[in-house]
Symmetry: C2
Subunit: 230 residues, 2 copies
Amino acid sequence: MRDAYHEELDSIGEGLVEMARLVGSAIGRATTAMLDADLKLAETVIAADQKVDDLQHELEARAIALLARQQPVATDLRIVVTSLRMSADLERSGDLAQHVAKLARLRFPERAVPHDLHATILEMGQLAQRLMAKAAEVIITKDVDLAMQLEQDDDEMDLLHRTLFQHLMDEKWKHGIETAVDVTLLGRYYERYADHAVAVAKRVVYLVTGEHADDVQAASATPSPAGEGA
Amino acid sequence: MRDAYHEELDSIGEGLVEMARLVGSAIGRATTAMLDADLKLAETVIAADQKVDDLQHELEARAIALLARQQPVATDLRIVVTSLRMSADLERSGDLAQHVAKLARLRFPERAVPHDLHATILEMGQLAQRLMAKAAEVIITKDVDLAMQLEQDDDEMDLLHRTLFQHLMDEKWKHGIETAVDVTLLGRYYERYADHAVAVAKRVVYLVTGEHADDVQAASATPSPAGEGA
């Protein structure tokens, strides 16, 4: 009985890793779809989010069944409750990747991102994907040091976000309001995506160290750099 | 024993209502601070969010203690797990109200919102506050019909958001890029705030009817109207 139980716990962890892989792939492909104005690729990202949602529902149902059937306490209880939160973070990351893909679709056959911001957006997309890959690895390895690295990577994302805003605020901006709006939202999507990846890693830290997830809250509340401090 | 248990469950519900009242007040005051360029008021909103965060931590700790001590099953288990999710929605709404206040502070002594958008932003703020008041009432009364009303109110929010974007895209827009960026982010904050209020109400519906919260997911994934469909 006890063994089947731990198998079930492990398989919830595997489900989380699978979700992280799906949403990591989604943000990478959404970014490519956006930069190349590739409608077909955008459509596949949009459609694929259903699988992430389904996985979340399945994981939640299994976590709740586990709580009811096995009534775990202490560490195991913490694992199950934290898994529920991680699956919510991952599901939301999937939505954000989908938002990027939908913006690509909306502007097709135009490109939403002007040429001089191409490199910055590409970097944001790649960094987001790397953050999620690391979050998945943290779930697997429970490596606290690796989890801490995600915070530094997130500082890099903030820097990129700030670069984006500097472009927007530059007096030489010549791409008009619609593009400014698109770029503002895109920046926000990548930033929030990164926040969720960091939150996932920090929840693992909480599980391993038992330290309260205060910082997790702080991370998920990262302000938009509409002007830093905002 | 059993009575103390149900008292504890009730008091978690009361904590959620308290959180909803705090974040409802926060979005109202943040909107006023923004429209009046009232720095002092903005500062009180920013500081007050700590209380919301504290309440969430407290509620989570109590919910987890309840799971460990009482090992609820069936409906009671569903209530506790759903409460955890509602407290996360409410905490995030508080962050969004704080973002609005921080934008007011950032632009002070200027006003972030140009005069011709004043009425729209005021309406968005008031609607957000009403939505959260209704969500609190839904938690108290478990009134499924009232919960359903929130979806209609949310349609109104989408309409207001679209109005905002029409202003932005209007060729006569003369407020420059910085204001366009501010207004874009503000619109997103109000829209997400409303999504969370709707999600809270729908989670109550799920508790009462036992119907799966698929729609809740859909609501929380409401796309930004950067262009509807985005």
